[in-house]
Symmetry: C2
Subunit: 314 residues, 2 copies
């Protein structure tokens, strides 16, 4: 479906209403979404993408919020994509959490977009990456992805960013859980948030202990930062660690490698989506619905039915 | 690839070594896996499938463990599939957690299988469901899925079970986080574990409060059970709640509906997998690798490249 050139220009001029509409087209899987993305694509590649991840309640939203504010003082524009189902950014917010975000939400240089994983049948990570492309083409300097650091689709999102920050709290076992949950592999650095609570020093030590055994292939050694984001403590350190990592990636050609991998992944997703859409036409959907009874009654198996569907000529 | 009839029979006789090998074929995506599953399929449908989910550290493994022991006293056989990356069942275990499981692991009537989500490029939920089919055909009465209750692939697994138990702890905000994380929608009942800790009564109350607003379409009203699984408290209640839910599903024809939906999903997955395998042959992989440079240099876009790949005749 055609996209008006004027709409593209309005996005590239950073008009909020056009950016919002662009992301909505993606979120709603509008027929024109791919065409939009195709036209925006040549104008992407400038935004720096940061993932803020960790268990629920670790304070990811607060850190995201304060980091956005800090970037605003540097006159940078910030797009935020909240895919954490427990985030106050998302629709699922309860008990007035949302209020906390109002100050950055009112800032014209910050754009917050919630994308719910609830009820989503996959495809969420693809959509968040596409939303980031809209921000990128619209001239946002940073795109922050706030995600819960457990589960496959979250790891997919992490693969889509340049720098991944893993946020933990000092509470018992949290850091050990993180190690086990595979966060060790994805973290470019750790933040122990709420570090005014008891046990923060032990948490830092235990993460550092495990990090000793990590010999990263690319030569980047993750560090641990203490923060109390509610009081704004540690935010400067987080921002400068992100800067250091970015410089490291640039110097070692890693940013290009990451972006190449990401682009390959994007092409694969586009192809696979199209294969599904083309295959599952009305006729095949109807065949599935009627033939499934044979499987349920034991006359056939899912494996036979899949073969039948794949072999039918139409 | 052919599967010997004898191997099928050994699985159906419940021989541990054959069950283990069957699941390994699935996990390693061996060419004969689908053929095996196809032959086992007519012998499935008897095992009851239970999901035990919740945030890391809630005590899901302990509950799974004790529930398995209880079923053993009833002379039932139990297959356990641990897909929680933080579970002591899985390879990621640290600090001797694994030791805790030894007593059930040594029981011939319990079979524990860890399936790691780490590094998995999707497909995990499909594999766990297939592993459950092996247990089912091998005559296991119960299959317990232990998963972390956040993230898309975990929700996929939950869709694959008959009864979903959501395990929480009394700690601050945990129950609220659960509500936000969409666990409300998937829980057939809640367990507040570690209920000897402060705040357990409030946690129960706050879950019940939110549950008041839930008007389930199927008429089943989720309840809240207090447990201290470490001391074995609450396990009987959990087992009888599972029984009640099972009876409810049977009486209302819901079990059949669930299993139909599950079978439809299975057929879709099989078809989509085959579409991918057929499409991504060596030639197309090579095209992707060489043409990606045009995208990276700005001469093309991922959207154009996807179209090119889809249109090429071979």
């Amino acid at each position: 479906m055609a996209i008006e050139q004027k709409f593209i220009e309005r996005i590239m001029n950073g008009e909020r209403i056009a950016v919002a509409r662009g992301i909505s087209l993606i979120e709603n899987e509008h027929p024109s979404a791919n065409n939009l993305l195709k036209q925006l694509y040549p104008h992407t590649g400038k935004a720096y993408r940061i993932g803020i991840t960790g268990p629920p309640g670790a304070g990811k939203s607060t850190i995201t919020n304060k980091l956005a504010k800090l970037y605003r003082t540097q006159n940078k524009r910030v797009g935020i994509i909240a895919v954490d189902p427990t985030s106050p950014f998302t629709g699922g917010a309860l008990l007035g959490d949302r209020v906390r975000m109002t100050d950055v939400e009112l800032d014209e240089g910050v754009f917050i977009r919630s994308m719910a994983s609830r009820g989503s049948l996959g495809g969420l990570s693809k959509k968040t990456k596409e939303a980031a492309d809209v921000f990128d083409a619209a001239g946002y300097d940073f795109v922050l992805f706030e995600t819960v650091g457990v589960g496959q689709s979250e790891l997919d999102i992490v693969r889509a960013v340049d720098t991944t920050v893993v946020v933990l709290v000092p509470e018992s076992g949290d850091s050990i859980q993180a190690m086990k949950a595979g966060l060790m592999e994805i973290a470019d650095f750790f933040v122990v948030n709420k570090s005014d609570r008891p046990g923060s020093e032990q948490a830092v030590m235990s993460i550092k202990m495990v990090l000793q055994f990590k010999h990263p292939a690319d030569g980047w050694q993750p560090e641990v930062i203490k923060a109390t984001a509610n009081d704004g403590k540690g935010i400067d350190e987080i921002a400068s660690m992100i800067d250091s990592h970015r410089e490291f990636l640039l110097k070692n050609n890693r940013l290009q490698v990451k972006r190449k991998e990401r682009t390959i992944e994007r092409v694969r997703e586009l192809v696979n989506d199209k294969l599904h859409v083309d295959f599952w036409n009305d006729e095949r959907e109807q065949m599935l619905t009627s033939y499934i009874e044979n499987v349920l009654s034991g006359k056939s198996t899912p494996y036979d039915l899949a073969t039948t569907l794949l072999n039918v000529q139409m």
